[in-house]
């Protein structure tokens, strides 16, 4: 409990930051109390069973909070293709606000709080968050070029904890593509929690890409809650590599007929990387559809965990839920942990999940070698082919290329 005593002092100091509005103060205090009550995540709590966050990587008593006033950033990281940049540095939105036609990008000011019983890190985020961005797309507006979110983590940042909250809203019949990536300038320890809320109105279509990587000492917690109305579509493509320790958590509520959510993830991990995915899809209405697709290639001592859940409530007849996780274990020390879960209360549904893990198929290697390809080359081809299945689903050529070149880059270096 001593750990938390020290954190309580930090919280008192944190309350003095200028970005904290008076209205949110009470909600933050409540969230912090909840966090203290639930305590730090540990392995015995089912919600955190395979989580790196329960592995004592983060010492809550040593967390330092800070605000970086410096708004400069390295422009070389900006993508070459035409896009709307959203720059977030050390937790704060630093780029110019955009307001044109149907697109609005502003500082986060929603001040909306909610609780998830088992999730104390969300409470932690709610207590200590800094305002991120808000993206709003107006009715019938199709955003012409992708929006790119850059998360900069500067060398000069004095604290070691960043928590931010953001919000994406798509009104009826609108469409947007969002690409997000992390840029770490330093090697210092950082505990970063990101809380993103997504709301899709009727017939809205959001595609989100995320290139997830960190420095060697960082622990990331990504939390997304998405709510989908009638006929809306949410597609997500994640590429995780070199994440020292990360938990990706998505809760997706399908609240309208014909809503569709598709979550895709590549984990290409090496060294001591630990990447955990926890997805929960709630089918609350009839005729909704979901798909979860995870592919992992694990080198060295890396660990990948996948916990996917399909929940079908008794109203949600004609649900189509699909889930597949496949892993390649490429070294003796790598591990793959999975918990694919189904919870179904409706009878007229089609739900299935599959999970497999193992090493590279030796027969295929033999086939390639008999055609004059070296063993190493053959292995690389196999890994590339294995992971490319996810990348191939991406429709945006620019981003597809980014993912492909990243895949090649990692493959060449390993």
């Amino acid at each position: 409990m001593n750990d938390l005593d020290k954190l309580k002092d930090h919280f008192k100091g944190f309350k003095n930051f200028d970005f904290i509005s008076n209205e949110s103060l009470q909600s933050r205090t409540d969230a912090f109390d909840r966090f203290c009550k639930k305590g730090i995540p540990n392995l015995k709590q089912e919600h955190w069973k395979y989580s790196p966050l329960s592995k004592d990587l983060v010492h809550f008593e040593d967390l330092k909070f800070s605000k970086n006033e410096d708004k400069s950033y390295d422009k070389s990281h900006l993508e070459a293709f035409d896009h709307y940049p959203v720059l977030v540095k050390d937790g704060f939105l630093i780029s110019e606000q955009v307001s044109e036609e149907g697109l609005e990008i502003t500082k986060y000011n929603k001040e909306y709080f909610y609780e998830i019983q088992k999730n104390q890190i969300l409470d932690f985020n709610n207590a200590f968050f800094m305002p991120g961005f808000e993206i709003k797309i107006a009715k019938d507006y199709k955003v012409k070029k992708p929006i790119v979110i850059y998360n900069f983590f500067s060398k000069k940042f004095e604290g070691n904890n960043i928590n931010n909250k953001s919000f994406i809203y798509l009104d009826k019949n609108s469409k947007a593509e969002i690409y997000e990536k992390n840029i770490f300038e330093g090697e210092q320890f950082l505990f970063f929690t990101k809380n993103l809320e997504i709301e899709l109105e009727e017939n809205a279509h959001l595609v989100k890409y995320y290139l997830n990587s960190t420095n060697k000492n960082t622990t990331i917690y990504n939390f997304i809650r998405s709510k989908l109305q009638k006929s809306s579509v949410f597609e997500k493509f994640n590429f995780s590599h070199n994440v020292s320790s990360c938990r990706d958590e998505i809760i997706s509520d399908l609240n309208g007929r014909d809503a569709f959510v598709s979550l895709n993830n590549i984990q290409h991990l090496s060294q001591k990387c630990f990447h955990e995915i926890k997805w929960e899809i709630n089918h609350n209405e009839e005729n909704t559809k979901s798909s979860q697709f995870v592919k992992s290639a694990l080198h060295d001592e890396s660990v990948a965990a996948f916990q996917g859940k399909i929940y079908v409530n008794s109203k949600a007849q004609k649900t189509d839920g699909y889930q597949l996780s496949r892993a390649l274990l490429l070294s003796d020390q790598s591990k793959f942990l999975a918990k694919p879960e189904l919870e179904i209360y409706a009878d007229d549904v089609k739900c299935s999940h599959g999970s497999s893990s193992g090493s590279i198929d030796q027969e295929s290697i033999f086939y390639l070698r008999s055609r004059g390809i070296s063993e190493q080359e053959a292995k690389k081809m196999m890994i590339e082919g294995f992971l490319a299945e996810v990348i191939n689903k991406i429709k945006n050529e620019n981003i597809k290329n980014i993912f492909y070149s990243k895949l090649n880059e990692i493959n060449q270096s390993s």
Partner: protein
């Protein structure tokens, strides 16, 4: 009313519990409650040696420090352990029956109704029965014949007295005293159960079988079964359960330990038909059983087959610890829940040895307001190279008030091992029904055919003697809708 609504209605109206009768015989009971005195009383009644009593008390002390688990899906009202009886034996059997003729006619009638082959002529069926009536072994048949080839098949209390070296060596070696709450409770107060020892190189010539019956009201049944298959031996063991109708919930917390040494094989089959409670979920058995097998030797094999149709709550995970190299574990399960029944069952396969293999086939059928859950763990440890697992969990839902859940845990920590898991959830489709009915089957026959096909993979695994009964049971469970 659509065809499927009709089906649901019929399913819910399934016939009254066939085995719901109470045998009227006198019993001697210990005073209620869980205490050292109770344990000493049980131990004394069983004429147990001191070490056994110490073992029980050790478990009891441990129990004081433990908490009842609460992570499971089926929730139940708190059990008052001080309000239960921990020992009850038919009074006129205090000294144990010497031959079949001595058996209380009432009890005999009970077994007859259940169709247990206890009588002489049933020997032809090749089944030796260690029938447990409440807590004392009523009769053990075929003992002599088994003795000839060196097989020991007796009640656990007899084994404690006559084969203490075996019991001391193996009891608690798979399910330690320090295990979870209900296993520890069992270790403290277990009353009776079966003990089987198959000597090296012996292939047990017949299926061994036990029938459990809970009779006296408010009696927790705490059975303990220990099966040891020595090197190169084989045994197939059958366990069947039926219980009379009661209004109050009864607790059944048994422990089953299997040990397979080098090249040995154990096949353990269960047909469980405890009283499931009435339509509104009143009454019924709490079936909280710990079953665990240890493939201790090389090339050993343990196979669990279970057909779970009864009990208000079934909560068990028959598991295999695959310790020996090349050892194999299998788990075949059919769980049928109806009305307010709940099942949280599955298995654990712990791969420790090299080239170990495991296979899991689980079929869950859920109707009425029932909840059916598969929960399992497949864990491949870093040293278990070349291991393989295949898991298949299928669920069938009848009606939209029931639930089917799958929660598998898969941990692969070895790169040369392969793990495969697949699960599906579906319902009896109108197409299938239409097809069958078109060919002249009535609604019930059609559903029966489809459900039987759904379970076939598992039912096939049962020994002949049991397969018939299991099919009958599936029939009873689905009667009115499935025939």
């Amino acid at each position: 009313m659509s065809a499927s609504d009709e089906l649901i209605q019929q399913y819910q109206d399934r016939t009254e519990y066939d085995h719901g009768f109470v045998t009227d015989i006198e019993t001697i009971d210990v005073p209620k409650g869980l205490s050292e005195e109770t344990i000493k009383f049980i131990s004394n009644q069983k004429k147990e040696p001191q070490w056994m009593l110490d073992w029980r008390l050790n478990a009891f002390n441990r129990l004081q420090k433990m908490k009842e688990p609460d992570w499971q899906k089926p929730k139940y009202p708190k059990i008052n352990y001080q309000d239960l009886y921990y020992y009850s034996a038919p009074k006129n059997f205090k000294d144990g029956p010497k031959s079949l003729d001595e058996i209380d006619p009432e009890i005999k009638k009970t077994y007859d109704k259940l169709g247990i082959p206890l009588e002489e002529q049933k020997r032809l069926a090749g089944v030796a029965v260690d029938a447990v009536f409440d807590s004392v072994s009523v009769a053990t048949t075929f003992k002599d014949k088994l003795k000839e080839i060196g097989v020991i098949f007796c009640s656990i209390s007899e084994a404690t007295r006559e084969h203490p070296e075996l019991v001391q060596k193996y009891l608690g070696s798979v399910i330690p005293v320090t295990d979870h709450y209900f296993a520890t409770l069992n270790s403290a107060v277990f009353t009776d159960g079966s003990f089987v020892y198959i000597p090296p190189g012996v292939r047990c010539p017949m299926e061994l079988s036990t029938y459990f019956r809970i009779n006296a009201e408010n009696t927790g049944q705490f059975e303990r079964t220990l099966i040891i298959a020595d090197k190169g031996s084989y045994v197939s063991y059958l366990e069947g359960c039926t219980a009379p109708m009661r209004d109050e919930n009864q607790l059944h917390a048994a422990n089953v330990e299997l040990i397979a040494l080098d090249d040995a094989e154990i096949k353990y089959s269960t047909v469980q038909n405890w009283y499931p409670g009435d339509k509104d979920g009143k009454g019924g058995i709490y079936n909280f059983v710990t079953k665990r097998g240890d493939c201790r030797g090389k090339n050993s094999k343990i196979s669990w087959t279970q057909v779970e149709t009864g009990s208000a709550i079934t909560w068990k995970y028959p598991s295999c610890i695959l310790r020996g190299d090349n050892s194999q574990g299998e788990f075949y399960s059919v769980a049928i829940t109806n009305n307010c029944q709940m099942a949280d069952t599955g298995t654990k396969m712990i791969h420790l040895g090299k080239n170990t293999k495991s296979k899991i086939i689980s079929k869950g059928i859920s109707a009425g307001r029932a909840d059916n859950m598969y929960r399992g763990l497949v864990s491949i440890h870093p040293k278990a190279s070349g291991s393989k697992n295949f898991t298949q969990c299928d669920s069938l839902l009848v009606g939209n008030k029931c639930g089917a859940h799958t929660v598998p845990y898969i941990e692969n920590k070895n790169s040369s091992s392969e793990v495969e898991h697949e699960a599906t959830t579906s319902k009896i489709s109108d197409d299938q029904l239409f097809y069958c009915r078109q060919r002249g089957l009535n609604q019930e026959e059609a559903v029966s055919l489809i459900v039987n096909g759904f379970c076939k993979e598992v039912l096939q695994q049962l020994p002949m003697e049991f397969a018939v009964e299991a099919q009958k049971l599936v029939g009873i469970s689905l009667e009115g809708s499935v025939g």
